[in-house]
Symmetry: C2
């Protein structure tokens, strides 16, 4: 596990660096996803369940983005996968340059999948391409079923929505069908997974999607 602490200087245009990242990833036949969500939607728990399922089958590494602390990289590194922590020190999103710096700590030639966990923020990361193949937005049922309407850019720019914490549906007012409908009204081409990191529901389907992405590139 490595820790990079960021002085917030944007030296190059993000999109240009993102395209360089994309070429680097393509050169290594690497499938890269950028996981975004509100704070506490369950990105890191999802990663833990994902690594448990895919370890030994798919070679993966993780980049963790956080405003502060390396708690998440520590959680992930426990599972024995390469993990790099980016600490933005107040920065509200990851940028392509930070990812480029982070991957210098990882031997990409050994990998099939790179998962980037973005800063918990449903607004700002929407518009920052990191060079990923797909943006994956995690929406917790506990946030309510109206969030795609209220934060449309994130759902518009994502390829996948993971509706997480479905085990809590009996105890809350949010409606799963409404949440799904609202997300698809913003972006009809979203691939939808419905998961619980507590019960394990839906995790296999999501992992199969990841593994299929890796297979297409190798």
């Amino acid at each position: 596990m490595s820790v990079i602490t960021v002085e917030r200087k944007i030296l190059e245009k993000n999109d240009e660096v993102a395209n360089q990242n994309r070429r680097t990833f393509a050169d290594h036949g690497l499938f890269v996803v950028n996981i975004v969500s509100s704070p506490g939607a369950g990105k890191t728990s999802l990663l833990e369940r994902t690594i448990e399922r895919l370890k030994g089958k798919v070679k993966l590494a993780v980049i963790e983005g956080d405003v502060q602390t390396d708690l998440d990289a520590r959680r992930v590194a426990r599972y024995g996968v390469p993990a790099v922590q980016i600490v933005t020190r107040g920065g509200c999103h990851l940028e392509a340059g930070l990812v480029r710096e982070a991957v210098q700590n990882i031997d990409l030639s050994l990998l099939q999948v790179l998962i980037i966990e973005n800063v918990g923020n449903l607004v700002c990361p929407a518009n920052y391409d990191l060079g990923e193949a797909a943006k994956v937005v995690v929406a917790s049922t506990t946030e309510g079923d109206d969030k795609p309407l209220k934060y449309p850019a994130m759902f518009r720019n994502a390829s996948v929505i993971i509706i997480n914490k479905i085990d809590l549906l009996p105890y809350i007012q949010a409606d799963l069908a409404t949440l799904r409908k609202n997300a698809l009204s913003i972006n009809p081409s979203l691939t939808v997974f419905e998961t619980s990191c507590t019960t394990g529901a839906g995790i296999d389907e999501w992992c199969e999607w990841l593994a299929a992405g890796a297979r297409r590139r190798s």
Copy 2:
């Protein structure tokens, strides 16, 4: 209910305008709070419960900040209080200038309390003073108990933390004592409320705090 749609031009320094706002609020003996949280922590539900409790006792109005939609102002306006919606069109936080513009739609001389519901974002609104007397951070138990450590600026700059959705504690792994301890480790002077908008727990205590703030100023 009024709707203001924002072109994102920052024409004046935020802090300067915030101080002007603060003087305006003081001139009217107005207690102003700025409610911040992640998306879906329950700010609007908390507002609904608050208005139910305080209506007829404390004269209040609401400014709603959202990236998109006027859903929240509609929810609040149903309770018969003045409500102004600011739509930031992608903007990730409210600024003092937007609040100054919004209050032009409200007769401040009729009010005791003004509640500003910020954009759902645990990062960016932390550093934007709106001229409020107190920043109130709402943390949902479902987000996990580590969020004060991971998003410290918001908890450091707040005067109050409302730990919401305590009714869901039996179904999740987050620990209430740990969440409280983590928040106080970042900011020992936080006033802590523990609430559920579903059961009504803790709402009276929070409303009494708001009403006391209004009494001190009138």
